[in-house]
Symmetry: C2
């Protein structure tokens, strides 16, 4: 496949780590929240195997925060998500679909409750801050909304626990998944969560003090030598095998959370007030018309740059592939697809055209592994 | 400068013209409104000279539309912009700063009045649709808001008028700047505006019927042969020389329209209701603290991927360069910079570090040409 350069400009913001990763061999970028997000350090498969066995440091500063604070902050945050946050606790992360009044997905962030009246929405790729501002202004909510200077470093992979223990001590290994706490390094406190966009385990360091963060970046590579540390980034193979959804790729504003298998984050039986609640009740009553599922395709390669139709034996479209990659584990292409009713069954087979050749595939449950 | 590949995925949407421009030699992309936007077809200077003398066809589908219709649509559109639209006319385009309640710029679109109760906001790079939805929901406005399937083709350059006349007849040459009308091609009506993101003259074709639009794309190249037509894209040299501002590059949410020289689009002496009005009155009363200006630097090259500090003889920061390029016309680097008070004077000189060397520069008025 022919590749194209990315044109850099101030509009596509660099991160504090950009000059470091460019010295360390980043080869490709995507953009995310108006920022550069590294997408490859050489061959994808090499990074995949390395991530599953070692530890990687990721520049995921593009995962921006929307800070919402003030008297009405809890009300505003709840208004935006169908997940019931009434029993949420300070010091915890919550995966929350954000939807509009039509129940269409606007983002699928992790929300950190920093305090009873202070929240960080750690966003996927859309300007949630504009939605929050519009809602706050329209509702005359007493809140402050802004994007703080937070540039996340992720430490991912099975050896991330040993590496982080060397730097921050035993306490960091005792944190629970999706918990967060504050840890000191080089004169600054860093919020560190046990989280990250892989299923290989690890942490996300919410760097607010850039100078200390850069010193920490270098320390992670220095101390990490004995754990075979490498620079990395979210890995397409690993994230599809693990069925970590990507907003804009697998799901978008034309989908509702029930179609995307996010049922457990849709809390309709509560008293809390959120956008799209009545709409979601109706959708649940009538049943969904399409469903996000896994697919396995008898092919050795694929490049998905837009939706690719899935057709049945009558050549009728039954769904569309939205993400896909060759999986060394399955030795086939695996992907995430939106299947139309009544075709969203595990038994369903389909045909798909890849590079002008027709391949056979079948539908399966998510996650793959 | 080392270049990096852009990683393609469904999240960074292709346009209907992507496969064509890739056959025609696009070499670099940026992203814009979650979409691929071509940023180079070979050397920038060649395209610059070609654009100033001939005609180019641009895939600017990334310039997305936010359609707002319904009973309260005029009220919502006005709420978002500090430009008085009370006397706006159907069939006209309006350049409108969109600001939040703090007068911070959110976007600087061209707004098309399609009908008394139907508008297209032709946006720069931010999710205005989310701001509009938030405001509409919060204010309980009776409006419909969505992103229509519109993929703009721009026809730019001094020979664009002859080319378009060959295809659409004499009527299209009689349209006034920022007027629009409907023209038929291959069985479909196309909204065509006399506009575009260059100062070389031309049109923007708002393609809703993709099939007809692709036929038109091919026809433009076929008929355009005699006018030396080439594929192109917004040209960094031409747009800086002409001082066409780029949201995210030159201006952002931390700037207000008075700081950005957009005074004539700030209509404070009217009865219309818009966000940030009181704030803007105060800013106007107290005077701005920084100002967007041109700069000329005694250098032969520059790559601006983030703000670069401008310092005075005491090594104090007096402003920052936000866009810049070598101009073959001036035989120097020219750029757009935000200067801090009291340094936003045409007489001001400064120093700037480019690739570890120090260069001298001076402040000037915009536009350059």
């Amino acid at each position: 496949m022919k590749t194209y350069s990315i044109a850099k400009s101030r509009r596509i913001r660099s991160s504090p780590y950009t000059s470091r990763i460019e010295k360390q061999g980043v080869t490709a970028y995507t953009t995310y929240n108006h920022m550069l997000l590294p997408s490859a350090f050489g061959p994808l498969e090499e990074s995949y195997y390395h991530l599953k066995e070692n530890v990687q440091i990721w520049d995921v500063a593009a995962e921006r925060q929307v800070e919402i604070s003030g008297k009405d902050s809890a009300k505003l945050v709840q208004l935006m998500t169908c997940r019931d946050l009434s029993k949420s606790k300070v010091g915890r992360c919550y995966y929350c679909p954000i939807i509009d009044d039509n129940a269409g997905l606007i983002n699928d962030p992790v929300i950190l409750k920093l305090d009873e009246n202070r929240w960080w929405i750690s966003i996927a790729d859309s300007d949630v801050i504009l939605f929050a501002k519009g809602l706050a202004i329209g509702n005359k909510f007493d809140v402050k909304i802004f994007e703080p200077n937070v540039d996340i470093l992720a430490v991912q992979g099975p050896k991330s626990f040993q590496l982080m223990e060397k730097i921050f001590g035993k306490k960091i290994t005792e944190m629970k998944f999706f918990g967060f706490d504050y840890f000191e390094f080089s004169g600054a406190k860093h919020l560190i969560a046990k989280s990250g966009w892989s299923k290989q385990g690890g942490y996300e360091i919410y760097v607010e003090n850039t100078k200390s963060g850069l010193a920490l970046y270098d320390e992670l590579f220095e101390v990490g030598k004995k754990f075979n540390v490498k620079p990395g980034c979210p890995n397409l193979i690993e994230r599809i095998e693990s069925a970590l959804l990507s907003y804009g790729n697998d799901i978008d504003n034309n989908d509702n959370p029930l179609e995307c298998g996010l049922d457990k984050y849709v809390n309709l039986e509560t008293n809390v007030n959120f956008l799209g609640k009545e709409k979601l009740k109706k959708i649940k009553e009538n049943g969904i018309k399409k469903k996000l599922m896994g697919v396995i395709i008898d092919s050795k390669e694929i490049n998905v740059s837009k939706s690719i139709d899935l057709t049945n034996e009558k050549n009728l479209k039954i769904g569309e592939l939205r993400s896909g990659v060759y999986s060394p584990h399955f030795k086939k292409v695996i992907g995430i697809a939106m299947l139309n009713k009544p075709h969203f069954e595990v038994s369903q087979t389909f045909k798909i055209s890849i590079n002008h050749s027709i391949y056979e595939g079948k539908v399966c449950d998510l996650p793959f592994i």
